[in-house]
Symmetry: C2
Subunit: 118 residues, 2 copies
DNA sequence: TAATGAACTTACAAAATTGTAAGCGATCAG
DNA sequence: CTGATCGCTTACAATTTTGTAAGTTCATTA
């Protein structure tokens, strides 16, 4: 939970007021958010699928990140019509509008991420 | 300082191994880094200039962020030929190669950042 | 030469994020 | 009806990031 009276929080707000790029970044900040969006570009997935594709993530953090992405409108949570209590997550139109952003982040990483050669 | 034995650190490494976009994002993570790059796209600037353009930043944090950007090779610190101990910061070639990334982050923010209308 | 300013650094505290471990309420297969 | 699985939630601790306040060093200015 954020303290909306903290200098930290206030500074973030000011920053978003003077830098659009920083605002965008803030929507993606959180260890796994961006990667979740990348995975969801492939199509809608369930909680357990996402967990399976991100071996190091814990359920707690996965739930947190999904909730925040939903709150900021980038993804949608749908209940299956066939089975109750079965949900799928998918990109919302807003999330899809991030396509170019995600693509350029991926492209730059592909060229400069030496880590990935392992 | 990061503990290279922490689960947190190890998870970040794993993540960069499986997601190029996340690697790119990690190079930009830090409250002011991206905005510093945005400012430096306008041309090289000095410490005090940057401080002046980012009213809310403290000297401590500005110094930290600049040092990290330098360490990751995105910016260069140059000493003035005319006056000793006067430095300017500028984008390195690697930093300039982020142009497309920064541009798409800005573009998305421009459309979706309601905050900025203040 | 004393004062000023630029560019930091240090020690410390607060806040935010992430990880650990366990538990809980459906729903469903058997 | 029973146990298993899915999709979470809770309480707590560790880690990481950011902020506060003060001080330092060197070089220039007056």
């Amino acid at each position: 939970m954020r303290k909306i009276t903290s200098t930290n929080y206030i500074n973030a707000q000011k920053l978003h007021g003077l830098c659009d790029a920083a605002y965008t970044l803030s929507q993606l900040s959180g260890r796994w958010k961006l990667t979740l969006l990348v995975k969801l570009r492939e199509g809608s997935k369930r909680f357990s699928e996402l967990k399976g594709e991100l071996p190091a993530i814990t359920e707690r953090v996965l739930a947190l990140q999904l909730k925040e992405l939903e709150k900021s409108g980038l993804i949608l949570k749908q209940e299956s019509i066939l089975k109750k209590k079965l949900y799928t997550y998918e990109l919302s139109p807003l999330g899809k509008s991030m396509d170019q952003v995600i693509q350029s982040l991926s492209d730059w990483g592909k060229i400069n991420n030496l880590q990935a050669e392992l």
